[in-house]
């Protein structure tokens, strides 16, 4: 899986010709032409000491990230008694799946999974559809006040959820929507970032293709579905992935809305597991966190290029 092209794909890699001539503070030296190779080649000028330091740095960061994850994984396969020993065991001996089966019997684990799947897919679909149609209207349709509407949409990015929860909680509770799926999903469905991302994408499409489709008599919906969308898949996939990850991990709002397994998604369910015993029984808890992490990590490993593209697109544009 190559990430090297990944991140670079959102912006120009190295210096393009245009950039090279367009600089203001470039100390113009005669050998510039020959120097204009890829950025990364510059490491060749450094000595072996730099290279060694580089590998040491890489090893360190891998250890810092991987060791805790390894520890959590190993713990989830340990027998109960083996978790509470000193010095700690770094390998489950004997390995047991007991924590995983205990997880499914002590709490309604599959109910949380079901809720997570329902909430994540419904919210994501709503956000993707709303993001695409809003972006379409804001980029390819003409109407008065378009820039004001756009401003209203993206200024919402500046309002933290944490400030809106009190009033939203009151409103949703008043509608009798606590412990319902719609109570969790609908308040989360408005989309600002995705609209911004898709609008940028649509504005970057070649104008003459869209003109040609219009002259061929394509109506706006046909234009969106047959012309605009097929050219925008990579951005849409990036937007969809970020949305799915965010919704799967969403915590505060479902935590306030759900009291039990009827609607609580996995991250909230794990908190219930943690609370169940005064002294936490870490084996099943670790098994639960592993299972909560797993789907997203698999998705990430398969589609990290697209995911990173979505994240960096927002940054590069502004």
């Amino acid at each position: 899986m190559s990430t090297s092209t990944t991140v670079g794909s959102t912006g120009p890699v190295g210096g393009t010709d245009e950039e090279r001539t367009g600089g203001t503070q470039a100390p113009g030296r005669r050998r510039r032409r020959q120097q204009a190779h890829n950025v990364e080649a510059s490491s060749h000028h450094r000595g072996p000491a730099w290279t060694v330091a580089g590998y040491v740095g890489m090893a360190l960061i891998v250890l810092v990230v991987a060791v805790p994850l390894f520890w959590i994984l190993v713990t989830s396969f340990k027998e109960r008694g083996d978790i509470y020993v000193r010095p700690a065991k770094w390998w489950p001996d004997p390995a047991t799946g007991q924590n995983y089966s205990e997880l499914t019997t002590r709490i309604p684990f599959f109910d949380y999974v079901r809720n997570s799947v329902i909430i994540t897919s419904a919210t994501s679909i709503a956000k993707i559809v709303l993001g695409v149609i809003s972006a379409y209207a804001l980029s390819l349709l003409r109407f008065p006040g378009r820039s004001v509407v756009f401003l209203v949409v993206i200024a919402a990015l500046m309002v933290p959820n944490q400030i809106t929860v009190i009033s939203n909680y009151a409103l949703v509770a008043q509608w009798g929507w606590r412990n319902t799926y719609q109570g969790i999903i609908i308040p989360l469905a408005g989309v600002a970032f995705g609209t911004f991302l898709m609008r940028n994408q649509f504005l970057n499409l070649p104008g003459e293709i869209i003109e040609a489709a219009r002259l061929d008599g394509a109506g706006p919906l046909k234009l969106l579905w047959r012309v605009v969308m097929p050219m925008s898949w990579p951005t849409l996939v990036a937007f969809a992935l970020i949305t799915v990850v965010n919704e799967w991990n969403e915590y505060l709002w479902p935590f306030l809305m759900s009291d039990d397994e009827s609607t609580a998604p996995l991250p909230v369910g794990l908190t219930f597991l943690q609370n169940n015993d005064g002294v936490t029984n870490w084996g099943p808890v670790m098994a639960g966190t592993i299972l909560a992490m797993l789907p997203i990590l698999v998705l990430f490993l398969l589609l990290q290029r697209q995911m990173i593209k979505g994240l960096t697109a927002g940054a590069v544009k502004s």
């Binding site: 990430t3 912006g11 120009p12 393009t16 245009e18 090279r20 600089g23 503070q25 100390p27 030296r29 510039r32 120097q35 190779h37 950025v39 990364e40 510059s42 490491s43 290279t51 740095g57 960061i61 990230v65 991987a66 978790i83 010095p87 709303l130 149609i133 209207a137 980029s139 003409r142 109407f143 756009f150 209203v152 309002v159 933290p160 944490q162 400030i163 809106t164 009190i166 939203n168 408005g190 609008r199 104008g207 002259l215 706006p220 991990n249 915590y251 991250p267 794990l270 908190t271 943690q274 936490t280 808890v285 966190t289 992490m293 990430f300 490993l301 990173i308 994240l311 544009k317 502004s318």
Partner: protein, 320 residues
């Protein structure tokens, strides 16, 4: 940013001289009203959601901050500035503001510095860097609640990973559960561990878009590595640094999941409580929604002010 908001056309940046931007549809007279209503139809659902669940509560929150509302009762009595007077006078406010400051400054500063360092490292031509890039980024996609719960055990003072590592070098593990300072360290570390991948990835993208020739030219002119970093690289990364300083600050200040699952704002009452946690605690645990709304309003004003200062700072940097 400003220009891209008011002039949609100019927001389409084309690096390689792209074809002209999308123009207006050719039929103007007949299709106009029809086009307007289609636009309204497409935009309305999203606008309604944003207005009802983002802007309305933002304003309603300010109204509630002047009441003694208890979240469940239908009645909220106006109390004027009493909540604000109380907040500014209370002892726990100092602790909570200090916690928020320490947590935010540490997470923003460290994750940006480390993210840049890692981006510089993994931009070098080193074998296996693709794998390491994935490893660094992976924690960012995992649920904060799951990480928080798992790291609670990692930091367990008796049987945790940190305790085991420290014991191997003969050091007694601090009590991360009971000592407020160490508890704050624990949540800060966990937050940075989870979110480092974000600053890393954004800086890496910026590095790959930088101009290699400037650096090469400075090197030929005999500039030291430090000078090249400070005078050539950092100015080019300025927009990225600015973008990150705002987004990372906003998300750091908002952190709830990790603190809630790891410490519940404790130990000793408010050892790791931040402003956001106080909003939750006062509103939903102590049932003082009016007071909670006051904290939320104060927080929003502070965030707005900080953002405005950051934007000003950035603009001034651009001009000079």
């Amino acid at each position: 940013m400003q220009s891209s908001l008011t002039e949609p056309r100019s927001a389409a940046p084309g690096s390689g001289g792209p074809p002209p931007a999308v123009g207006p549809p050719p039929r103007r007279s007949s299709g106009r009203a029809w086009e307007w209503s289609l636009a309204a139809l497409l935009l309305l659902p999203n606008l309604v959601l944003l207005i009802v669940f983002t802007y309305r509560p933002l304003l309603d929150n300010i109204r509630l901050s002047f009441t003694d509302w208890n979240i469940s009762s239908p009645i909220a009595n106006p109390v004027g500035l009493a909540n604000y007077v109380e907040w500014f006078g209370r002892d726990d406010t100092k602790v909570i503001v200090r916690n928020t400051l320490v947590f935010t400054v540490a997470t923003v500063g460290i994750s940006m510095a480390l993210g840049l360092g890692l981006a510089l490292l993994l931009d070098q031509r080193l074998k296996g860097r693709n794998l390491v890039r994935s490893v660094v980024f992976a924690p960012f996609v995992i649920s904060g609640a799951a990480i928080g719960i798992a790291f609670q055990f990692v930091f367990d003072p008796r049987f945790g990973l940190v305790n085991d590592l420290l014991a191997r070098i003969g050091v007694q593990s601090p009590d991360f559960y009971q000592q407020p300072g160490w508890a704050l360290f624990m949540v800060t570390f966990t937050y940075i561990w989870k979110n480092l991948g974000y600053t890393f990835v954004i800086y890496l993208a910026a590095l790959q878009g930088r101009r290699a020739d400037l650096d090469e030219a400075a090197e030929i002119d005999g500039a030291s590595a430090w000078t090249r970093f400070r005078r050539v690289l950092m100015p080019q990364l300025r927009p990225t640094t600015f973008f990150l300083s705002i987004t990372v600050l906003l998300s750091s200040v908002q952190v709830f999941d990790i603190i809630n699952v790891m410490t519940r704002g404790g130990p000793q009452g408010n050892g790791t409580a931040t402003l956001v946690y106080q909003v939750y605690q006062e509103t939903f645990v102590n049932q003082r929604a009016g007071y909670g709304a006051t904290v939320a309003t104060v927080m929003f004003v502070i965030l707005l002010a900080v953002t405005v200062v950051q934007v000003r700072f950035m603009d001034r940097g651009k001009q000079s």
